[in-house]
Homo-oligomer: 293 residues x 4
C-alpha cells in the first residue's frame, strides 16, 4: 500500500517502521524533521508538508499525542481536510477525545473523505515489535482495506464498529480501568501498611492469585518499590486521561464515581509536587492522605 | 498431626477432607451434624461439642462465615477459650474483622493459648483441590508447626507476620481490590454501551491485554452476559466485605474513597432488589445510574 | 409531673434543671453522683440506682452520650426494662443509632412499657435556657402526655411520628447535613485561597447572601480563624455521627455519597493528629489534600 | 458616567435599567436588538455593533451567559479588544471560567485596556431591584472609579482584590457551595423518607434551626414540593457550574470531592431526562439511587 505517516513520537516511529518493513511505500511527515531520520535511512520518503504526505496515498496515518495536535493536522490551514483527495482515508491512531473524534469524522465526511479511528494499546517497545492492541472503528469497507496495515502494527485487532468515536470511548475506558486499578491498589497498600504488613506481601497475594496480569504486576512493583521516578506515564498524563474519561462520560450522561476518586488523587499528587512522576504515585498520595508520609 | 475442625460449610468440608486425606488424625464438629457425614464416612471422628473437638489436639481449625460465628465458638460458653488446653493452637481460617481478630487473639493470649489467623483465597473448588492461597499470621513457632497442615490445604502460603490482625487486613484488602475492580469494569461497560459498543468488546480489549487474569476474565464474563443469577458471592456478602474494609480502615485511620464508591453501588443494587444476586451486579446498578436500564 | 432523669452531662444538667424549675417532682440518677450536686441543692432527689429512679414516676428521661450507655441503662442488669412499671414511659433524648433505638423500642414494648425517642438540637447553653429543638417520636398518646415536659426544655417541638427510630433518623440527617456543609465550605475555602483570596471574603459572600444562618456563620468563622482548638464538637464525635448516618442509611438502603466524602476528611484529619480538635478542622484536612499546609 | 452595556438577558436588562435610572448616559448593544426595546423606551441609546457601544464610554459592561459569548464579544472580530480605546474599561459581570477570565484580562492588558471582573449573586428580581451581591476584582483605581456604578446595581460589594480571576473563583465557589448543599439536603430527605418521615419535617428541623437561610429555605421547599418544573436554574446550568468548579480547581490543584458527588447526581438526573428541570432535582436523582422512585 501507499501510506502516509504523520507523527514521529516514540510510538509513531516504531509503528511507521513496521509499515515500511512490511514492504509498503511510505511517505513520512513530522513537524521536527530530525525525528524522521531513522526512517529516511530505512527507505521512507520524508516530506516537509501535510500536502506532500497526502499525495497519491491509499491512507494517511496520524499518531499524535493530543487533541490540539490532531486538530491542527486535520482541521488547520493546509491540513488533511483540505489536502486529502476525494475518498482518501485518514487513519487516526492516537488517543483523542470523543468530541474531537466526532468533529474530525464529521469534517472528513463533509469533504468526501474517510475517517477511521484506531487507537492503540501498548508502550513503544510493543509498537516496535508490531504487538500493539488496535481498536479500529469507521466505515466497514475502509476498515477492511486497512486490515493488512493494522495487522502489521498489531498483535490483536478489536473491531469497534463503524462509529470512530466508539473506538475513542473504548480506549478511554481501558485507560481509566487501569488508572482506577492503580488507585485501588494504593488504597490496599496504605491499609496493610498501617497493620505492619510489607506492601510486597499484598502485591504477592494479588498477583499470584486472581490478579496475575501485567496491570497489577507492573504497577504493583512500582508501588512496592516506590519507583516513581522511573516514569512510564506521568501523573499529568494520567490527569489528561481522567479528563478524557469525564468528558466522554458527560457527553454520554454517565456518572463515573471511581474516576472521580482517581482524578482527585492525581490532582492531590500534582499539588504535592508529583506531577512529573509516574502516575502510580497516586499510591503515595493515598498514603499521604492516611498520615503515612 | 491431631487436628480438630469446626465449620462444615462448603469451604470447610473441602479443607477438612484435604487434612484427613493427608493422613492426619481428624476430629470434626459442626452445629448441624449432618454436614459432617461425608467426612465421617471418609474416616473422621465427628463429635458433638467444642469441648470434644479440642481434646488432645495439636491444633483446632475454625472455618466459619462471620464475626458472630467465630465469637460464639471462641468466646461463648463452652467455647475454645475455656476448652483448649494450655498452649493449644486455634487456627482461624475464616474472614473476620480486624477488631474481632484482635479480641480473640487477646483472649487466647490471656488464657495461655496460641492464636493464628490464616484467612484463605479461593472458592470451594479450590479448597477441595488443596489450591487455596493462605495468609497465616501469628507467633512464628506456631506458624512453623502448622506449615505442613497449611501446605495440604494451600497451593501458596503468604507469611503475614506475627500479628493475627495483619492477616485479616490483607484478606480484607484483597477483597476490596476485587470489589472495586468489578465496580470500575462496570463503569467502563456503561460508558462504552452509551457509544454503541458491545460490552464484550471492552471485555476482550481488557483481558487480552494487560488485564489477562481471572479477576477480570471471570467477572467481565458475568457482566457481559448479565449472568447475575448464577451467584458466586452475593451483593449482601459484598456489602459485608465493604464494611469490614471500612471498619479496618477506620481503626487504622485510612480513608478508602474507592471502597466508598463500591459500597454505594452495592447499597444501590440492594435497594433495587439485587441483594441476593451475584455481587458483579454493581455493573447493572452503574448502568441504572446512567439511565441505561 | 413525677419525672426521673438519668444522665448528668452538660446537656442533661441543663435540661433536668428546666424540668425541676417548672415545678415538676424530679428524681435524678447519675453514675457519678457528684455531677448531680447542683440539682440536689436546687431541690431534686438524687438516688443511687436505676431501680430507685424509676419508682413512682410518670416518665424517666435518659440523656446519655452513646449507644453503649443507653444499652447499659435500658437493657443491662437492673436496667429500665426490668425496673420500669407496666405502662411506664422511657423518654430517650440522646442521639442514638437507628438500630439501638429499634432494639430498645422493641424491648420496652415486650415489657409492656412505652418508649419515646426525642433527640434534641442545640448546645448546652440552649439546653439551660430551655431553647432546644426537640423531635419526639413514639406512641401518640405518650407523646401528648409528655408535651408539657418537652415544652419546658424546648423552644420548638417537631413531631416525628409514632416510630421512635424515625426521630433518630431525623437527628442523624440533621447532623450530616451540618457536617457536609462544613466540608463543602472547606472545599470552597481551599479553592479561593489558591487564587489569593482571603477566606474571610468567601465567608462574607456566603453569609451576607443566601447562607446567612448560624451553620455557615459559626463554622465559617472557625475555619476563617483556624480556631480549631476552641472545641465545640470534636472530629472524633463527627466520625461517630458519620458512622451513625452510614449505619442508618445501610439499614434503609440509601447511598450517601456526600457523607462518605465528609467521613473520609474526618478520618484524614484524625490520621493527621486532629482527632480532638473541633470538627471544622476538616477544612484544614481539605487544605492539606490541596498541598496548602 | 458614560456607560456601554452588552447583554440584554433577564439579568442584563435589570442591571442596565438601574444604571440608566441612576442618571448615567447609557448605550446598549444586544445581538437580538428587540430585547433592548424597553431600555430604548426608557432613554437608552441602542446601537448595532460592539464598535458603536464602546465609543466615548467610561466603561463597557458585559453581562453574558457563558465563556463562548464573552470570548466572541471580547476577542472576536470587531470585539472589545479591537474597539475599546486606550485605557478603556471592560467590566465583565457574567460568570466565566477562571481560564477565560485570565485570557481576557491578559488580552486587555496587552491592548492597554483595563479589565475588571465583577460577577454577581442574585436572580433577575434582585438585579431589577439593584440588590445584587457584586464581587469586583481588577486594578484598584479602576474598581474605585466603578464603585458608584456597582452601588447602583448591588446591595453589597465584596472587593476581591486586583486579580480578575479571583472574583471568578469566588463566584464559582459560591455556586458549588450551593449546589452541594442541595445535594446534601437531598441525601437527608431520602434517608428520612425511608424511615417514614415526611420531607417537610426535616425541612422544618433544618430551617427553623441553624439552617434558617434562603439557600435551605428556597431549595428545601422545592424538594419537599417536588416543584422541579418551576425552574430557576436548570440541571444543565448546574452541570456547567460544576464543570467551572472542577476546571478552576484543576488549574489550582485542588481536589473537590463534594463537587464530584454533586456533579455525578446532576449527570444522573440528566441521564434520566431531568436536564431542563430545576437543578434541585438532584434530590430526586438521589431518591432514585435509593430505590425510592
Amino acid at each position: 500500500m501507499k501510506v502516509g505517516f504523520i507523527g514521529m513520537g516514540r510510538m509513531g516511529q516504531g509503528m511507521a517502521r513496521r509499515v515500511l518493513d512490511a514492504g509498503n511505500d511510505l511517505v513520512v511527515y513530522n513537524r521536527t524533521p530530525s525525528k524522521a531520520e531513522d526512517l529516511r535511512a530505512a527507505g521512507a520518503n520524508v516530506v516537509d508538508s501535510i500536502a506532500a504526505v497526502t499525495q497519491d496515498r491509499d491512507a494517511v496515518i496520524t499518531m499524535v499525542t493530543d487533541d490540539a495536535a490532531i486538530e491542527a493536522i486535520a482541521l488547520g490551514e493546509g491540513g488533511l481536510i483540505t489536502t486529502l483527495p476525494d475518498g482518501g482515508i485518514h487513519l487516526a491512531m492516537g488517543t483523542h477525545s470523543v468530541a474531537m473524534t466526532r468533529t474530525i469524522a464529521a469534517s472528513h465526511s463533509e469533504a468526501n473523505q474517510v475517517f477511521v479511528a484506531a487507537p492503540v494499546l501498548g508502550r513503544p517497545d510493543r509498537a516496535a515489535a508490531g504487538e500493539l492492541g488496535i481498536m479500529p472503528a469507521g466505515p466497514a469497507d475502509a476498515v477492511a482495506r486497512l486490515q493488512p496495515l493494522l495487522e502489521v502494527m498489531g498483535r490483536r485487532i478489536f473491531p469497534a464498529g463503524d462509529q470512530p468515536e466508539a473506538a475513542a470511548a473504548i480506549k478511554i475506558a481501558h485507560n481509566f480501568v487501569l488508572g482506577c486499578a492503580i488507585e485501588v491498589m494504593g488504597e490496599g497498600m496504605s491499609l496493610v501498611r498501617k497493620y505492619g504488613v510489607e506492601p510486597l506481601v499484598l502485591h504477592q497475594v494479588l498477583t499470584e492469585g486472581i490478579f496475575g496480569c501485567p496491570a497489577y504486576q507492573i504497577y504493583g512493583d512500582i508501588i512496592v518499590n516506590e519507583a516513581y521516578d522511573n516514569v512510564g506515564f506521568t501523573t499529568l498524563i494520567g490527569l489528561k486521561d481522567a479528563n478524557l474519561a469525564l468528558a466522554a462520560a458527560e457527553a454520554a450522561q454517565v456518572p463515573l464515581p471511581s474516576v472521580n476518586v482517581w482524578r482527585d488523587r492525581l490532582l492531590g499528587a500534582i499539588a504535592h509536587g508529583d506531577g512529573e512522576r509516574d502516575w502510580a504515585v497516586v499510591a503515595r498520595e493515598q498514603a499521604r492522605a492516611s498520615g503515612l508520609e
